[in-house]
Each structure stands twice: as structure tokens, then as C-alpha cells.
Subunit: 269 residues, 4 copies
């Protein structure tokens, strides 16, 4: 563990608290990031942004560039999607979290995103980690599908050693033999990461389970075991979503989740 | 899923509620099972039983026959251990949960245990499942180290088709590539099992994590996502325990866990 | 590794060579065990026995007691199946390998089987290991679905410390995230086991892959990396087999496998 | 499987045979790629290149840009390393296989490498796949640590749909619970891939096992089950190698492996 030079508790014994575009996360400040898997239209992203803001989200998520297993699947609106996210931000004031998938987009993301997301498939794309780190903007780093906790921290170390200070770690399910859920949400990783590192740790119950009926119980569990936040897929018409509809909750489901998560946190923290 | 003839929701749409020696579990009734990994001495088991009872446990756990990877490790006191458990029950009134590892012990367990535990390594020991099922006593069935949710339910089906009605399912961690925890606690299995089956589902955070500092956060998470109970290893001198000391909590840690679990449940259920 | 007291190379630096009913295995002696998943009828088992013997098998396998995930699946002919195996042995002279699933059958297997098989699901059924070990008959020990190499050797140690000397280890695939094969055949386990232990190591390509078209390439690979034998499912009418037909090869496929395995071994050993 | 539009057998029923800088691979042509994990000095790479060529290698491997879990580990000589590889190629005539880790290096690799390697950690770095595909140069695509066979083929599809025709697939071990080997070599993937795809499939026993004593048996097994080639780490002073020394074989071990692999192939193919 000597290698956690920047991300480790030795380097920074207190919980890190990040102030990002006026929102705080870490050290007792819980943040909910919500929005659709993919940005589809202006109307879609603006209306979802308004709804999730009203229901308690503090950040808007939305994919403009989507890594897809098949080259023949919809892969996002690209820079047009980023523009739509900026419109939604202007309308609601919600800071934007969106995924980068190429070093070639560094400049564009630098100007658009409030938090740059590194997805699970790029967690060990070390060139991208370094380039993103150099921007010294907030980064949301997702755990790879079969990455160990140690590797996740070392990926944070790649980003931080390049210059960034604000890295948020995200548990989003690991690959196991179980097939009833898309991945296996490893919630033990939350307290383990909190023990080893001062960085905030959030949980993505949507990608972890791949099933909207499991998003609420796993959100509650994440809050109970000490996570600093959640990232949840919300869609106003989940069954028509251009990707991952089966794991997206409706705004009304999202509202109930936020309320119950707050109840858990009020009881414990 | 047509095969979940007895354990499935189709067979029994409501949550099953079991009354076991005066305690209830399932359908909104939360149960905490606590005690040492192994029964060691009369003084040990009786004093732990008294402490966990005072702190909120409704059942006493303790191993008399221990399955051990190595034939050269301590494997429990055997029938003497069962006698000590009975003394602890007489002293405290707590019903006993203890693991059976051989068909040859059916008669003895029939007379000693209030709940017969089938351990992870025997989850697909179908001969044992059948013999235990024939007794029609309550059974605590632990998920195998690499068993799917489907296989767990089919193991319950083996027990129930032999005659037993009261089977409690237990998620206790699955085997993955992650090494910071002994196993990976699959909490998504809790709502998945509750959806498929009417049987109560409990969680074992002690064996799942192998680390006492993780027992509290994982207990809270289990309660938050809808588990019907917990089984927790408690030892009065964890560092001197004859097995699994590193995952046993002290009575004072246990007391805090019960309080906070109750707070979570009061907030949500 | 200090715990491999009886199975380890320290205890017995040379490869063990077992003479079982006139056949040898280990230390350069390669053995092929073949036969159907389940014994179905006298005609079936006798005709398959004759065919596989003519094609190069040295042992006959066949299940009389079948562990099945569902209690509602065909679970073998039981003691009648053992009687049919004995008829096939009398007709062909092939020694019998068959799986035991209950301590209650110890006496029966003691009188019927030439090699008693412990299946993957019972690899850590320590009571059964001990009872089988006491018989001091040859044992075929299959690796559990998610058992480590260390646990496999410790299971052998359970059997040997109870009295048995002739334990054959069997790699039969482990559980991973890959779904194109039923399990993932871990062939590296063969040279690792041969380095740590003096016991013979065989490979089961049928259960590992679950796909008859993969049995030949995996048999060749097993022979090439130093296995001491193979156990292969052969059925005269695979598509009508009462279980696991999709992984059974026909006698003519089996003949080709034996020939090509012999060619690999002639080239290397 | 409808998605394997370019990599699938439907698209190209015969085995693809690639001619790369005068060497052939696929369709019965077996190729051995050998060399050090990292290029260290001119003397090192040239001397190893000479040795492996004399012993039967048809391509030289060597890392100039190394993806490393820790940002504090040696990460290769970079473009200087590529220059040294070119010197070794000039001296021996061996075409060069070397790993690209950044889109920013596309131009450089286009001019240096004969085969561009995509490493396991970048198998789903879709931006890199696309950029490399556009070059229409031969690509060696390694399976991700926890990628399915389907995902590996879809990654090939990303490369091919961008323009490349010559993609070589490489099984290099997957992540499982077993710890005696660094990864678990999934040799069943070889015949499964050969059935689904017309592309050549090679095996990397060095990274899969992480143990030089296992490289020979796994090389033999790979050849026996139908692989089209091997990629093997060879170092003249393995214990002084700057990375992965414990898995590198010496030239004399390499010579023995090639001889025995040839013997297996002569016996079978």
C-alpha cells in the first residue's frame, strides 16, 4: 500500500471534501448524480434534468460518447450531445458529469464537463488517465469490470500523479459467475476504499444490477454502508431509451429512492 | 423458474413468516443470530449467549462440527459442543443454530438444534439436504461459495421436497477475484431472492468479509436492502478465538451494530 | 504447503504409480476412463463398455447415483445401476469408476466400485471424504467448481489422512464469467498439481466444456501438458442420453481421440 | 452471432491466412513470436532477437510503451525503444510486434511496427481500436482480463469495421479466483474462437501463467488444441529483467519449447 502516495489515507488522513461548481461531496456530504444513459434530444435531456433536480439530484449525468461492445450499436451523439448537456446545465444549473472515451477529446471535455467520467472499460487506459489528470478538473473514476480495489486506487494514482486533485471513486459492479444480475455489486468495496483512501466513494446501482427493480434496494444499501453518493440512470420513458432502458428508473421511482436514501442517512450519519 | 415449485413466489405469493421456538422471522420480522464461530467451553458459550441476548440477538449460533479445509485444523468439539449449546440455551432461552456436516448426525441434531444449518460447502450435498429435509425442522441454508442464486433456490427445493417447510436462505459471500475481502458479499442477491421466493433471506457479513471492521457497514447495508435478518460472529476474546477470530466482533461492537441496524429498519420498514 | 503431508512431493518425491485391478496410472502410465454419464440399461452399459474397451479405454465410468441441481431431474438408477456396472465389468474386464454421493452407501460402494469417485459438489464434504478414505480403496477426486488448487490438495489430504493411499486428482473445469463453455478448463492446474504433488492428475474435458465438439481438442491439450489420463463421456446415442447428452462423444469420436492422444504422447513422452 | 459481420465464419468460411512481412500465420501455418517483455538496451534486444530467430521464432516481440498498474513503475523506453526494435529488425530480419497504448502514437507505430499489439487492458478502448483499424496494418488483439469470447470478437469487429483486415486474436489468461497462477489460461477459447471466426488464434502462456516453469506445458497444450501460434517472453537474463522476469524463459528453454511444439504439431496437423 506504499504506492497510494496521493490517494491513500497516509497522504491525507481526513476525508477529502470536494467543492465542484458549488456542490460538495465527501466527508459527510452526500451527492446524487442522475440522468439518462445517453443524451438523445434537447427536450429529453432538459426535461430529465429539471425533474431530477426537483427531486434532489445535485449533478446531471448523460452520455454523449458511449463505449459499446459492438461497433454496430448506437454510440451517442458525440459533440452534439455535449452541447445538449450544456443547454440542460444552463437551464437547471446542474453541473454535468459525462464520459470521455478518447484522448482526442481532451480539449472539448475540458470546456464542457464539470466532472469528467472515466468509464469501467477505460479504467486502465493509462494514457487517457494521464491526459485527463493533467487538466486538473474533477474526475469520476469507475472501477473496471474485473479490477481489484488495489487497481482502482492505482488508477486514481495515475490521474493524481498527473496533476488532478479531485478524484471520485465509483463502485459499479464486478464480473462474476452470477447471471441474475448484470454484474455483482461489491458493496464491501465501499468501506474498504474509505479505509484505504481519503477520496469520496460513490456507487452506481444501475450498471451494477442492470435491472431497475434493484436500483432502490442497492441505493439504500450503498447509503447505509457509508457511500458518499450515488449515480443513477433516470429516463422519462425508460422503455424507449436508446440504451440501457431496462436499468433506468422513472423520475417517480427516483424521487422515492432519494427520499428513502435520505431517511437512511438521517438515521445513521 | 418453473422448478421453484415449493420455494417460489408462485407457490406462496406472501412472504413466509416462520415461528421458531417463540421467535419469528420473515415478512417484516427481523432476526439476529449471534454467537461464536466455534463452541469452546461452557463458560465461553454461556457468557457470549448472555451478552448477545442482552444486546438484541434472538438466536444463538455456535459451531460444534466445523468443516475445515485442512484435516489438521481444529474441527470443533463435536457432540460435546452440542451439549454445551444446550446448556447455553437452558441458561438464556435462546434457540440454537448449529451446522450439521454429516448424515450420520441426523438423529443427534434432530434432538439438539432448533435450526439446523447447512454450510456453504454442503449446499449441494444433496443426500444431506434430503435427510435434513425429512426431519421437518427449521433449516438455515447457506449459499455455496460459487453457487448461483438459482442453485441456492434449487438446494432449498431439495430440502423442501423432502418434507421441510421452514428454510431460511443465507447470502454469505461468493468467490471472486477480489482479495481485499475473503469473499465478495453479493447483496443484490437479497432483493433478487425476495422477488423469486417467499422464504426469509438473511445475510452473514462475518464470513463474507472475513474482517471485523467490515461487519457493521455490511450489516447496515443488508438491513437497508431488505434482508430478514443477520448472522454475526461474536466472541468475547476475538483474538484468542479457536477459529476465525479476525472476523468476530466483540459484544460491544455487536451492540452498536444491532442499534444501528434497528435505526435503519425504523427509517425504512 | 507444509500441510500437504501425504499428498505433497516432500512426502513422496517420485510420481506415484497406482496399480488398480491390473491397470496402471501415474508416472508415465496414461489411463483413459470412458463411459456414459448415467447407466441406463444393461444393453446400453454393456455395449458402450465393449466399444470403449475395443477403442482403448482402460476403465469404465458410469453414474448410478447422480447429484442433480434440481430434485425433479433424473438422478440415476441407484443400486440397480451399480449392478449393471458389475455386469459390464464381468463382460469386459474393465474396472469400474462410479460416483458416491452419500456416506450411507459406503458399504455398497466398497463392494462394487474399483475406483470410488468423489464429485465436484462433494469435494469439501469432509465427512464423506473421511468415510471413503477409511476404505483404503482407489479414489478419483474431482476439483470443486470453485475450489482452488490448494483446496483440492487439502481434500486429498482429508482422504489420505483417513487411510487411503491411491487418490487420483481430476481437473474438470472451474466456474468463471465465460459462458461459451459450461466451465473453464484450467489446464495450468495440471503442471501446478504435478509440481506440488506425487498423485496422478487426470482431466475431464466433457464436464469442463459441456460441448462434445470441444472434447477432442481439450483431450489433446491435456495430454500435451502432462496429464496422466482422461475421463471422457461416451454414449452410443448421445442425443437420447438421459443426462448430459450434448457433451457426450460417440464411440467413433472417442476412437479418434484416443488415437490422436496417443500420437501426442508418443511425440512428447 | 449475427454481429460477427467481418470476423465470423459466415463472412469468410475458410481460415484466414495472413502474409506479414514474409511470414505466414493461420490456416495451418504456425507462428512463434518471441522476445523480452521490455526493450531495455540495444545489446539486449539485438542479442535476444538473434537467439530467438536461430531457435525458430518468426516474429520479435518487445515492449517500448508498457501499461503498468502503478504510475511509479518502469513504463518502457518509449520511442527510443521503438528505435531499438527497428535496429533488431534490421539485424535479424524479424518483423516487430509491439504494443500501442495511446492514440497519440498512431503515426509512430504506423511507421515502426509490423504488427501492432492491442494489450489486454485496452481491448475495449474503442477509440484506440478504431484508430489502429484505420491504418490497415496487421493487429495482434489480446483478450481482456475479464472479457468474454464474444467481447473479444466484437473488439476485432471494431478494428475490422474501421478498415483493417489482418487481426490475430490472442488468448492470454482470464481473471479467476485461482491464485497459484497469475491468470487462468482459457485454452477452450482456442477451439471456440476457431469455430466462430476465420481469424488466426494464438496463445500467450507467459502472461497467462506468470511462471516460467509453466510456459512449456502450456505451449504444448496450446499447439495441441489447435492454436495458430504462440507469443512467448524470452530474456537472456530473466532474473535481471526490468519487468516480468519471473515469467520469462531463457533462450535454451525457448529452444526446447519450439522443438517440442513442432513435435506435437507434426503428430497432429
Amino acid at each position: 500500500m506504499d504506492n497510494y502516495r496521493l490517494s491513500g489515507r497516509d497522504a491525507h488522513p481526513e476525508d477529502s471534501i470536494f467543492n465542484i461548481a458549488g456542490r460538495t461531496i465527501g466527508g459527510g456530504n452526500f451527492a446524487v448524480i442522475a440522468g439518462p444513459c445517453s443524451v438523445e434530444t434537447e427536450e429529453q435531456i432538459v426535461s430529465i434534468a429539471r425533474e431530477v433536480k426537483a427531486l434532489g439530484a445535485s449533478f446531471l449525468r448523460g452520455g454523449a460518447f458511449k463505449p459499446r461492445t459492438s461497433p454496430y450499436s448506437f454510440s451517442g451523439l458525440g459533440t452534439d450531445g455535449l452541447e445538449l448537456l450544456k443547454i440542460a446545465r444552463a437551464e437547471t444549473g446542474l453541473p454535468i458529469v459525462t464520459e470521455i472515451i478518447s484522448e482526442a477529446h481532451i480539449e472539448t471535455f475540458s470546456q464542457s464537463a464539470d466532472i469528467i467520467q472515466i468509464g469501467a472499460r477505460n479504467m486502465q487506459n493509462f494514457s487517457l488517465l494521464k491526459e485527463v489528470g493533467r487538466l486538473n478538473k474533477p474526475v469520476l473514476l469507475k472501477r473496471g469490470l474485473s479490477s481489484t480495489i488495489d487497481e482502482l486506487l492505482m488508477a486514481a494514482e495515475h490521474i493524481m500523479s498527473a496533476g488532478a486533485e479531485q478524484v471520485i471513486l465509483c463502485e459499479r459492479g464486478i464480473r462474476t459467475f452470477e447471471t441474475k444480475t448484470r454484474n455483482t455489486l461489491d458493496l464491501s468495496a465501499v468501506p474498504v476504499l474509505k479505509k484505504l483512501s481519503h477520496l469520496p466513494v460513490i456507487v452506481d446501482p444501475s450498471h451494477a444490477t442492470g435491472d431497475r427493480s434493484l436500483v432502490e434496494p442497492m441505493s439504500l444499501a450503498a447509503a447505509a454502508c457509508g457511500a458518499d453518493g450515488l449515480i443513477i440512470e433516470v429516463h422519462n420513458h425508460p422503455d424507449c431509451a436508446m440504451c440501457d432502458g431496462e436499468q433506468s428508473v422513472t423520475p417517480s421511482m427516483f424521487g422515492r429512492i432519494v427520499e428513502r436514501v435520505n431517511a437512511v442517512r438521517a438515521a445513521l450519519y
